[in-house]
Symmetry: none
Subunit: 216 residues, 4 copies
DNA sequence: CATGAATGAGCGTTCATTCAT
DNA sequence: TATGAATGAACGCTCATTCAT
């Protein structure tokens, strides 16, 4: 075989990338060490040089996913000061992320990652809480700025936000890419953002987002 | 053992019920023939009298789920003529259904049921399409009745409708029942229904639904 | 393959017999499910029909050994009322038992059967205690009958009794059968029984035993 | 890491010491190169600088054990001219040796060190023969000095000598140190030495040994 | 002399599936 | 119709060993 020797740091990244790739294609059920190793160009037992065991890989994979999700949050924070615009951009990034990494929702939502392993369940819960916390943060800012109605809590709003893409993403996946998740997310955001905007009613959609979505 | 001999039809129902139960508790990964058989009071190999193989059971399970989902649709159709009220009631029934049968989303959305099996992928897609089709039907009626704005297609609305519960359901599951999915769905519906209502702006929530949800 | 189907009771015996055989030839290190299954004419996974796992097999194997050892005790009890003669006969049976089942000491004394598994350590300890208890019982009777000196406790005597064969057995095994364990045991018993006999000194060996040993 | 570079000779000693230590704690099953290397502060592959392979280590380990056993023989030879006293002292040293290095009997008697490897079997046999030869030598001297009866050969006596400790040692180990091997050996020696002494009958125990054992 | 990545053989175990009864 | 023994494929994992650095 290749028997090329690489640093464990490099290998760890490769392995996680490969694992995410496998999940994207074959689902969590298809995530076995053989498939991962093959994709990296290694033999299964070689993975144990770089991770304790399969659970260790899944844990690290959740870490990778967390960093990607939170990376998007950090990115939009730097792109704009307007919290509502930030959420638009975050939504757009989110759609792109799961379009390019179909494995992400498959790992996070695939409910057999946990199962008996309630520690992982807690880990996933924490991941979601963290992400939703940031989203809620944007909503909170928007409310303080008087942009968003205050009869809904930031937490509630953040869960609704998640609902803007998730079903679309599932349809996109089940339809083998036939369903236009980007467009659906755009529409859903328009309706949602109108609904939560303060005072005015039926505000037209934000132009920046419409543009951004179209060029995707 | 019991060794009671029952009609295949009865057994099939028992088996599917058991399978759904297993998925509800242990996830798709825990869905093995041994667990299913044990719950029915049979031996694994006995299942082959009633189904071709495990895939056959999963296929039939999807059928069972479809009938449950469509049963809810039929039920609300008989409960009211008002399409928007019907959707409220459907949402409420949906929440109850997945609260009592956590296995339903785990089967439908858990993306490793299919994987390599693209035929099942199509089957799940069809199931969703059918359900969403009915939901879209209600929205279409509502639009024809002038109750709902027409700048959004019934199809788009139906996907948004799905988004009202799904993330909440996931949080409910991951948080081990700690998250209040019913309340979240209620809030989400209020916001959503306001947003899509024709003409008026900021309509207060429908009383019937608020009541219904509270007594749940 | 043969694919002959036998009752689990029969299989369990076959499996344990095979396991003991494997240990006799290859030691505990050579005791793997493949070797055992092959000897029974089965496939490794088939063993799981009849035992929970490998540990279950080893546990049951200890049970088998215990029954063999205690079977010898019961046998000599029926053969004579004289406790010292009983011990002679037991010694002779013991030698034969481990000559025909070299695996027995290998299982009981091979200290990696336990190791981390301290429950098994306790199990082996209990087995030894039980056997030694019976031996001590004989010594106790002999003391009450005034046949054996009483400045040594039955427990101490029983451990010494064990020492009459054990090193010989090891030499026999390591020498690939070259060492005459039977003769050594005979001599050791003569010396030992003289030494512990009450009052008289240098009693000549018991004739029955000398005969019994020779015809072996 | 330390990455200290030491002479092969030093390393070999360290490695064997570590190996014996591992066996003492975890048994032969726990003797893997990783555990040994860790204890030396090396990496498994580094062991191959100093030994051909794992078998080489075990072979050398037997050599170490041999030197320890024979070292005891040499020591008692210098401590006394009286062959019977020498044997007493040797017994006492033997007990101490295996109490402090539980791995020694685990290597020598644990019969899976060999298995298929019949060369090692021969090696162990030779080791035992050598040790027993020295013990037999003491008995021979004692017989020539008229101290020990001559109807038993020195070889036979030497094997019996081995039987004075071995079962006690096993019980000591299986009982997790609960069994008093020192006391048992003392008693066994008293009985045995009386029995083999020439002429007199029922000689009381040798005082030196009783003292020596008590202060242990 | 020492490291650490990689290999390959082997083991225990699970599970869908077959089949004779 | 139901049982239960048996199969075979697959998987996670361990460990002795090799080799380039």
């Amino acid at each position: 075989m290749a028997r090329e020797k690489l640093d464990t740091e490099v290998r760890q990244e490769q392995i996680l990338e490969a694992a995410l790739d496998v999940v994207s294609r074959k689902g969590m059920k298809g995530l076995n060490l053989g498939a991962v190793a093959r994709r990296v160009g290694l033999v299964p037992s070689a993975l144990y040089r770089h991770f304790d065991n399969k659970d260790g890989i899944i844990d690290a994979l959740l870490g990778l996913i967390e960093s990607r999700l939170l990376g998007n949050v950090a990115a939009v924070r730097h792109e704009t000061k307007d919290p509502l615009l930030a959420l638009e951009l975050l939504l757009r990034r989110h759609v792109r992320l799961i379009r390019e990494n179909a494995g992400i929702p498959r790992v996070v939502f695939s409910e057999e990652v946990y199962g008996a392993n309630s520690q992982r369940k807690a880990q996933v819960y924490e991941l979601l809480q963290k992400y939703l916390g940031h989203v809620a943060g944007f909503f909170g800012e928007a409310q303080q700025d008087g942009l968003v109605r205050t009869d809904l809590s930031p937490d509630e709003l953040s869960v609704m936000f998640l609902g803007l893409v998730q079903p679309a993403a599932i349809l996109w996946h089940v339809s083998d890419g036939g369903f236009d998740v980007t467009r659906q997310a755009e529409k859903a955001w328009r309706v949602f953002s109108e609904a939560i905007r303060n005072g005015e009613c039926g505000t037209p959609e934000t132009e920046e987002f419409a543009l951004a979505v179209k060029e995707n």
